[in-house]
Amino acid sequence: MGLNGGSQASHLGKEMVYAVGEFLAAVCDCARLEIRDMRLLSGGAVQENYALDIEVEGGADHGRHALVLRTDATSRVQTSLSRSEEFAVLKAVHAAGVNVPEPLWLCEDPSVIGRTFFVMRRVSGVAAGHKLVRDPGLETARESLLERLGRELARLHTIRPGVPGLDFLPECGYAPALNRVNLYRRYLDLLSSPQPALEWCLNWLERNQPENVDVVLCHSDFRTGNYMVDNGKLTGILDWEFAAWSDFHEDIGWFCARCWRFGRDDREAGGMGGREAFYRGYERSSGSSVDHNAVAYWEVMAAVRWAVIALQQAERHLSGEEESLELALTGRLVPEMEMDALMQIDSIAGRQSA
């Protein structure tokens, strides 16, 4: 087993690159391993992702590999899964056949780079939502892409409580919506400014919870921007740090909510197209039908959730923790989400009385 730190990676901390190389050389079946490149990828305030190119000589892993190393950013917020937990989720969903970057190795030894990290295969393509909804090259591909996303989501939702390896996920009982309502109320209590409109929406959400809930493993941030597309084809669903047991309609509502259409409000399925193809893919794969009223309910929840997150981000700026124009402006998005929620509640009420 030999190791070469590689010259192209020198712009990162040499010690870090060397430590990662040593770790990989130990876990790979190889005679020699070289890190050809390692660079920090943009995006992700909470996680750091490094593109990692390695070359392995000898053994079962012989050849070149394009990988991603994912670790916590130094300033991390403790509201989502740890990297070890996210790795476990990624393994479970990969085993279930969901299209995700293949998880390879987890390193929990803090002596290696100081933080837990895992390594997965790198998938190619574009994830940025504003690009995907505007790319004219995707015009003919969006319909089949949506159907595929529906199928992938249905496959994820075959994972149910009790599956081994995911015991760390909090139980959700039979009232996932109420859990969310209680959580967002606790978050609001930590903020300095009162939010009467959101309180009103939360009351509505408490009183109008869907019945006969089917609890499955949800991604909980399944939306345009969190999946990768290359040449019109889905190459992988990303960012599993919010995975949780919940009503499967939560993922569908989050995907379709107006706040995740990147300005293409007319395309109700993630700014990419109509709901039909997305629902069709989901229903054909799962064999169960999408309850449109439940999705409408979870879209109210989505708007409230985004509003609460936006308030938390603005608070980070206001409290002096992190001065940032982006965080400050995020606070000014809140009334859009409030209006989304209020109008969505109106439209549900209109549908019920019709």
Binding site: R185, A197, W200, N203, L329, P335, E336, M339, L342
Partner: protein
């Protein structure tokens, strides 16, 4: 005091210069940040221009809901009154005490508050939604 052009006008014209003359020359990597600066300036300009009209309208609606006595006991300035009454309103909604006869009024008040904030933060949203 005559200090013209006023702050709102300065922000408005500065934002226009930024968008029309400077942005085309901004490097691609800095474009997003420059757009954020322009957006922040536009919001601040609209806020200055609106003055305290929105706040006074909010106080009028809160007074309709809670009555003159409660309002007069809720601080001195318009800003302080609105802040305190909103705190009480949020609490009352959570406690479920706004569900009876006043439910419709509360609902209308909340919607008006949100629309008022959108007029400053994102008037385009109101147009797109067909509200204004």
């Amino acid at each position: 005091m005559n200090n013209e052009p006023d702050g709102a006008e300065l922000l408005r014209v500065a934002q226009k210069v930024l968008r029309e003359h400077l942005l085309p020359g901004v490097a691609k990597q800095q474009r997003y940040e420059a757009l954020m600066v322009a957006n922040a300036m536009a919001i601040a300009a609209r806020e200055l221009e609106a003055g305290d009209a929105g706040l006074r309208e909010e106080l009028r609606m809160l007074t309709e809901l809670y009555g003159d006595t409660v309002v007069s006991q809720s601080g001195t300035s318009v800003k302080e009154k609105v802040a305190r009454l909103n705190k009480r309103l949020a609490k009352d909604i959570r406690a479920g005490v706004m569900d009876g006869a006043c439910a419709q009024g509360v609902r209308a008040l909340l919607k008006a508050q949100v629309i008022g904030r959108l007029r400053v933060s994102n008037p385009k949203y109101l147009k797109a939604a067909g509200i204004e």
